[in-house]
Structure formats: structure tokens, C-alpha cells
Symmetry: C2
Subunit: 247 residues, 2 copies
């Protein structure tokens, strides 16, 4: 039996698991997670890893049994109580694969609760791989010390998103056509969502529709043209700094 924390260059190994976490519980890892722990990290019985499941906080667990394609972990004790990120969603027009992966990863690190793809008029991408989104979000949550994984929702059309919008949630729409800056915009406290357009931006009719809604606040992100993925990350950063948990 070894007795050391498994670490990689970015910190200690943390894994998101689905089942309950409590003292004495045994967790079975298979597939990608087992491969990562056994082959990439070369885990041996006794090695310590951290586990979280989105509701039971973070737990210290030890590698117990090791098989060819799976391994078991024994939960020892809770090391961090459960916390959540601020009530912020990201609604985004789906973009090409690599920038989309990046948005999901970064939005998770910056701290969003919900990732909501939205098809707009100028959206070029025609389908969203939710499984891939979810895998990226899990990996980013593991590496960012989060204790939950953002909810990856199925895509909605622009009109449907607005029709079923919860009115108490401010929709902060990144408007390239001139709007107050994030700091100047009178952003209310409470639940919020950032909405960013596709590569070609929002259509004029979409901008008009958004600006007519009482729950929408348009904001500008400076004088340069930002790519869709950059705009999403900049807006999330500014919200966390002004209304979120970076204060």
C-alpha cells in the first residue's frame, strides 16, 4: 500500500462521480476514469484522490481494488462541504467545435450553473453534441476545484428561449451595436444569464426583439470586435467581478 496524494501538474487529482459519497461507501470507476487513474496516473492501492458528485461536497478516497479495466475507491471522509457557484447561466449560439469546447471549459472554470445553446438566425452550426459538452464540463469542473458540474441543456431556438424565459432572471445580451459598458449598465442583483451571438453576431431583428424585452439588459464589450467565444468569457468574467463571487 502506498499512501500519497495523486497529483498532476495542475494540482491534485479530483474526479466527478455519479453515486452517493459517504463514509465507507465504495465507488466503482470504469472506462475513461479507470483508464485515466490506472494508466495515465499509474495509481496504486492506497493512493488518495478527491471525489465530488455535485451534492455531497468533496471527499477523500483511497484506491482500494485494481482490475484490468476498472478500479474501486473507498470513501474516507468529507474534506470540503458542498458549495455552489453563483446563479449565472450562459446562453450562447453554438459555434465551431474547437471554440465551443473552449467556451464550455472556460465557462465552467469561471463559474456558470447552466450552459444553454441557442440557435439564432446567423448560427452556422446545425447540431450540438451534448455528450461532448458534458464531458468537457466535467473535466473542467474536476480541474477548477468546483464541487458541481454545470447543467448542459439541449439547444433551443431563439424565439423559444425568449418565450419561456423566467422573467425574474436578467438576460444580459452582448450587443455589438452600441450599449453601456458592463460597469455602467445598471445590472440588478439576483439570477442572471449572459447571451452571446454566433460568429456573425445577432441579426438586426433579433437585436430589436431583445431590446424590447423588460428582462433584457444590453451591454457592450469594448471597442474591438471580439470573437464569439472571447465575448462569452469576457462577459462571464465581468459579471463574476461585479455581481458574482469574485467580489
Amino acid at each position: 500500500m502506498t499512501d500519497s496524494d495523486l497529483r498532476y501538474e495542475g494540482g491534485k487529482v479530483r474526479l466527478h462521480v455519479e453515486g452517493p459519497l459517504r463514509a465507507g461507501e465504495t465507488v466503482l470507476l470504469e472506462d475513461g476514469q479507470a483508464h485515466y487513474l490506472l494508466r495515465v496516473m499509474r495509481a496504486k492501492p492506497g493512493d488518495r484522490v478527491s471525489l465530488f458528485n455535485g451534492s455531497d461536497g468533496e471527499w477523500l478516497a483511497r484506491v482500494a481494488g485494481v482490475a484490468k479495466r476498472s478500479c474501486t475507491l473507498a470513501c474516507e471522509r468529507q474534506t470540503v462541504p458542498q458549495t455552489s457557484v453563483p446563479d449565472l447561466w450562459l446562453c450562447f449560439a453554438p459555434i465551431k467545435k474547437t471554440p465551443a469546447d473552449y467556451v464550455v471549459q472556460k465557462a465552467t472554470e469561471l463559474g456558470v450553473r447552466v450552459l444553454q445553446p441557442v440557435f439564432t438566425r446567423r448560427t452556422i452550426v446545425t447540431r450540438v453534441n451534448l455528450e461532448r459538452m458534458r464531458a468537457n464540463a466535467v473535466e473542467a469542473a474536476e480541474q477548477s476545484d468546483r464541487l458541481d458540474v454545470p447543467e448542459c441543456r439541449a439547444p433551443l431556438g431563439f424565439d423559444k428561449l425568449l418565450a419561456q424565459w423566467p422573467k425574474d432572471r436578467t438576460l444580459i445580451f452582448c450587443d455589438e451595436g452600441g450599449a453601456p459598458s458592463f460597469a455602467e449598465a445598471a445590472l440588478p442583483d439576483g439570477p442572471a444569464a449572459i447571451f452571446t451571438g454566433p460568429e456573425g453576431g445577432f441579426d438586426p431583428a433579433e437585436r430589436e426583439a431583445l431590446r424590447a424585452l423588460s428582462f433584457v439588459t444590453p451591454v457592450s464589450l469594448g471597442p474591438r470586435i471580439l470573437r464569439a467565444d472571447t465575448a462569452a468569457l469576457a462577459a462571464l468574467t465581468l459579471w463574476q467581478s461585479i455581481r458574482g463571487d469574485w467580489r
Copy 2:
């Protein structure tokens, strides 16, 4: 002769060129730029593109002559006078290829003047491809409506960076070990630089050395662990919003 603006999904085609731009000037494009214009954009004589060189503003030019591997453009008139981005540098520990490309691209969009790689104790990457950095910066400047390209400097060691630091430039160091938030930190006006560490963060001795310097201001970027590239982009965004040209 056609008579239309060349456009791609993200907007009009803008190219960075090296030579002077003035009425009547002919600009020769070769290699990658000629390939892009002729093969990717299928430019025809008469098509309009925008040119900038970092000092003469933006110019409207027309495709004049077309050969197999090159083409010439005729400058017509200045459409935007020269502007610059705020006096902000990014000093960053070099990171793996893909995140590094991303940092260069995003930092250019967010508006930095200088990109300065810095080797720190925990830096894993051992060399920096300056030509690749420069190519990424040019492409990002073309697509973000910038009229200049950030200067890509040769890497420096941590000690050398600090020894030759211009004392009137605030060095904002992203400290994972606890510091005031960006909004709370008393950031002075005037020239500034963001400094972000490698995947494994700054070494304790480096943090101590930084904190002892009069021109250094430590800041925190929220309660979650951000990857090196995310930290750089979040810090640039916050500086632009608080002290830069997003106000």
C-alpha cells in the same frame, strides 16, 4: 471587374501588411496572404479589402493584378485613422501549444500592446515559437478590427524581467494565494502589465519576490482555480473594464 467587399462569416476581410499605405500605393501579397485572398476568398480584380500596417490607419484597397501565387492591391483611401490600444502588456509563463495559441489570439482581441513570455521556476515548456506567436497575433488583429499588432517579445527569465522592469509600469500579478479582487485592488492609472504563471502556478519564492516590489500589485481572480490561459484572459478583461478603453 467586380465591385464588392470581400467578406467572411465574421465580417469584412482585413489584412495586415508591412509596407506604407497611401493613395496610389501598390501592395504586393505573396505566400499565405495571396493564397487566402485568391484561393480561400476567391478574390477577383476590383474586389475591395481593407489594409492596415500599424501606423497609417485602415485603407480601402482593390485587387488589381492577379497571378498564380501572388496578387497586387491598389490603395484608394484611408477609411479609419490610426488608433492604438491602451498601454497594457501581458507577461505570461509559456504554456502548452494550444492554450498558448489561444492566449495570444484572445489577448490581441482584448487589446494588449506587448506579449512577453517569461520563464518561471515551474514553467514546463522550454521554448517559445515567436514566429507562430506573431502569426497568431496578426490573424487576431485582422479579425478584431485592431489597427496594430501586439509586439511579440523574445522570452525572458523571471529574474531578468524584474531586474529590468520599467518602474513606472504597474505589474499586476495574479496571485492564487489570496489577494484583493481586481475591483478592490487600488490599481493606479497609467501603464500596466498583467503577469500570469504557468500550469502549476508561481513558486512560493517567486510570489514572495513579487510581493516585495513597489511596482507590483497582487490581485485575486475569484474562488475557483483557473487554468493559466483563463487567468490571463480574465485579468485582461477586468483591466480593460476598470482602467482601459472599455470604460
